[in-house]
């Protein structure tokens, strides 16, 4: 099986000149679940935006064996499902159903398949009944679930989730954890939620100031109080 994600010596500056990534390298095997942790501003979101070519820095990014280039962004975006931190950015359509259908529709699939996939995706996140609802009347937890459905409907093989449990109450958070547990895809999730990491992610990548500063087994890092503290992390 091809390597799911391979990033080599990635550098990136925002247009305002602010550097965000300084030589990031990362390799994720197919089927792996990796947590990306680190303080605010470490560059987690910036790195994630590189994984489907929304941002293009200097260095090599390969996804499912393909080097990212302008010729294959369409395929790459169908492979990598990027879920933004704020579901209000992800859910921009008038109704839930239209949002879930947006991906498959714009991939150019036939309408029958679009419908079938959208329904399956809503079912997978336990929101079948929400299709005709208007997004702004939903709770944050519901919005987060639907945001995940918007990439499941694209049949993404690699899920890239930016802070999937941020801003959720305990019950909604538990719901998302259970949902993620049941998904078969390769997952890379950024988070500050170390309980989530302990439960779902055997591997942890710590970023700080635009660099990967540690990459290894979660159990070892969670026992290393000094390492966690050095990068603004705190065990609950």
């Amino acid at each position: 099986m091809p390597i799911a994600v391979e990033v080599q010596d990635l550098h990136f500056k925002y247009p305002d000149g602010h550097g965000a990534l300084f030589g990031v390298s990362l390799r994720i095997e197919t089927g792996e679940r990796v947590a990306l942790v680190g303080p605010n501003g470490a560059g987690k979101s910036t790195l994630m935006l590189h994984l489907n070519g929304i941002l293009q820095g200097e260095g090599a990014v390969r996804v499912a064996g393909r080097a990212l280039g302008n010729g294959n962004l369409g395929q790459v975006r169908a492979t990598v499902g990027l879920v933004f931190q704020d579901p209000d950015d992800q859910l921009f359509s008038p109704t839930v159903y239209e949002d879930v259908a947006f991906g498959p529709l714009h991939m150019g699939l036939a309408l029958d398949e679009v419908r079938q996939r959208s329904q399956a995706a809503l079912k997978a996140v336990g929101m079948e009944a929400y299709g005709p609802r208007v997004s702004h009347h939903l709770s944050v937890g519901e919005k987060k679930r639907i945001a995940i459905a918007t990439v499941l409907s694209m049949d993404a093989q690699i899920l890239v989730l930016d802070e999937p449990t941020a801003g959720l109450d305990p019950r909604a958070r538990r719901g998302i954890i259970n949902l993620l547990r049941g998904l078969p895809q390769t997952i890379l999730a950024s988070t500050h939620d170390l309980i989530l990491v302990r439960e779902l992610f055997p591997r942890m990548v710590i970023m700080d100031q635009g660099r990967v500063v540690a990459d290894g087994p979660t159990t070892r890092f969670l026992a290393d109080q000094a390492l966690l503290e050095a990068h603004g992390l705190e065990l609950p």
């Binding site: 921009f92 947006f102 150019g108």
Partner: protein, 262 residues
Amino acid sequence: MLHIDLADQYRRGSSRVHRLDPRVKLAGAVLFIVVASALPAGAWGAYGLLFAATLVVAALTGLGAGFALKRSFVALPFALAAISLPFTVAGRPLAQFGPLVVSVEGTVRFASILIKSWLSVQMAIVMTFTTAFPDLLWGLRALRLPPALVAIVSFMYRYLFVLADEALRLMRARASRSGAGAPGRRAGGSLWWRGKVAGGMVGNLTLRAFERSERIHASMTARGFQGEIRMLATPVLTDRDWNALVGWVTFLAMTALIGFVF
């Protein structure tokens, strides 16, 4: 979280009007408004027919006949733009106030404009109260309005709430920092201070809106958007939709005929 519900006029229901295809409702309402505005001044019979039609439609919606009627008075202030007509249109004098002469022709034209705009507003109200906004947008798309235009309205609808929520939070933050200090001093600071804070808030909101639009665009791009918004299936109109449409067009054509001929 508490949030703002500025624009949701839609009232859930399952009446015959609610269940009509949004395209039929949109086209029907627009046609009604076109006929109402095109009718000549003083076509009282035709106005009466249109009024009867609004009553029947309102009754069919199950919202009650008075529902749209009550809300339609928002049209009145706009009609006042025509208030000078009775004085400026030349014709037989009806009354005289000092140097101002009220003409019969002018009064007829003024009353006609008033009635026509009031009828049009009633029909627009019935349509927006019986069609969910997403369906309305879909209807606009299906009726071949420029996709970019419909997309703009659709984004406005979606993000007006988000932006309004953000504004609400900022306003709360200001309110909670403007307690009354020493006795005798006004709560909320000086006018200058409040002006400064309000200016900052507007700037802050604009910046947030810009940043959000960038993130939304990224999230659309991530899902395969390449500049062209595609549309989900367009179901065919049912017999019921066709019947309603044909009946409505026939009625409006007759009304127009009556208005112009008699």
